[in-house]
Symmetry: C2
Subunit: 269 residues, 2 copies
């Protein structure tokens, strides 16, 4: 099935999912939307995040995608069920794939989760983990400073290192054998996070795991693209296209074209 | 949904899937069938393997399972599509999960596959890998002596070491960064296989990966078991129940009860 997979995020974070989809499913065409004008979603109210997510989904539906991927943990936590109920195509979030990967990885049953305030406040990871495996012990911690760093392209600076160290100083004292990067922006910082957490903690990228589950679901629904060796992806963002393009091209390691989108509904900008 | 997951294999190999399902989905009840009277399936004709698989599925349907797992690569290779077409419940095989995990894991794009003669002859892994990622390079090798070793409980003997070394001596000369254990019996030998292949080759267990995909599919279909803290599993085998029980209890690290099943159709025994 040659229709595109539509991927949305509050900004550049969902590019970590997009990159893995390109690598694991090289025949799939991607349409990406980064809501960079309104990032970060983390501190916003659930009501606002739900409204934004519906708006982006409506925008993406004009391209008749075969699947919607909510590649934003904050939006997944509050809007996934509503969007899924509304659409007839598969809608994939990023929380359950990360939870399932952590359950597969952990030997001690002690799992850490970091994410935005919105994601952590929703307890979405705890609920997803305990729904499947009731005895898992979960420690979670919001890291509100990470997304703004990534949206500015600051991945490996001294400032980044210092922010990551301070944000994780309590968490690294708690025994755990894996840590879920419960925000798709965080893989941009994974080198620094891994270094701070030490070698005994396996990082689980909700982005990488989601790409694999997209593959699983498309296969089971008979919706995989075939005979499509050179798909042409499309990128949209609501904020500064130059900054988005710079970060995206560095992360994806390829040239892309970015189309700016200006929201027409002033009260939600 | 509290109905059981039914898992079938030619013998004890599918216990590697069952163990991972128990670990990753501790609230799910399992009904397991090992066709130990007719193991190994690897050297048998596709026609025969298909007939056996239908027969076991018919047996398992009396328990009204919510899902059938064909935890045998040989049977998946030749019978999955037929069984899936016949039933209205989800039917999961072990080949695509292993293929997807290899695609996620490989950085070099060079993947090895070992399996029974039947699995390797079917080219099922090559087809699954190339359907998704056409440029993957695949080298495959049948290891017909491995299943009989496992069915005799010989996991770490000198004879096992010697058989594994001889079987893999050509394959280990070929560059690859991951090797799919394309037979659910092989994780019983994974220590020895890992040692022979060396530290630069990541082993992919089709068993572990299948357990994770079972979790994904049950979640997306709203079929996960909940509030079921102590499921009681059931085990059936067509051959010597004492040998099956011994291997199963060692592998699963728990006491089980095994019910012997005698096939009533002599011509296929």
């Amino acid at each position: 099935m040659q229709q595109a997979i539509a991927i949305l995020d509050s900004g550049v974070g969902g590019l970590t999912v997009a990159k893995e989809v390109m690598r694991q499913l090289p025949q799939e065409k991607i349409i990406y939307f980064g809501d960079t004008a309104r990032t970060p979603y983390g501190p916003r109210s659930p009501h606002e995040v739900i409204e934004f997510t519906h708006q982006i989904v409506d925008y993406l539906l004009q391209f008749q995608p075969k699947m919607i991927v909510i590649a934003c943990n904050t939006a997944t936590a509050v809007a996934l069920d509503e969007i899924r109920a509304r659409l007839s195509i598969p809608v994939v979030g990023v929380i359950h794939p990360g939870a399932r990967a952590a359950i597969k990885t952990t030997q001690s049953g002690k799992v850490g989760v970091i994410g935005t305030e919105g994601t952590i406040k929703s307890s979405a990871y705890e609920l997803a983990l305990r729904q499947i495996s009731p005895h898992i012990q979960v420690v979670s911690q919001p890291c509100p400073l990470f997304v703004p760093l990534v949206e500015k392209g600051l991945f490996r600076t001294d400032q980044t290192r210092s922010v990551v160290e301070k944000s994780l100083q309590d968490l690294r004292q708690i025994p755990m054998d894996c840590l879920i990067l419960g925000c798709t922006h965080y893989p941009f910082l994974s080198d620094v996070i891994a270094d701070v957490m030490g070698p005994n903690v396996t990082l689980i990228s909700s982005a990488d795991e989601t790409a694999r589950e997209i593959s699983t679901i498309l296969y089971h629904k008979g919706m995989l693209a075939t005979s499509n060796p050179m798909p042409v992806h499309q990128f949209f963002c609501s904020g500064d296209p130059a900054m988005f393009k710079k970060i995206a091209q560095t992360w994806l390691n390829e040239q892309i074209r970015v189309t700016p989108v200006v929201w027409q509904v002033p009260h939600i900008i």
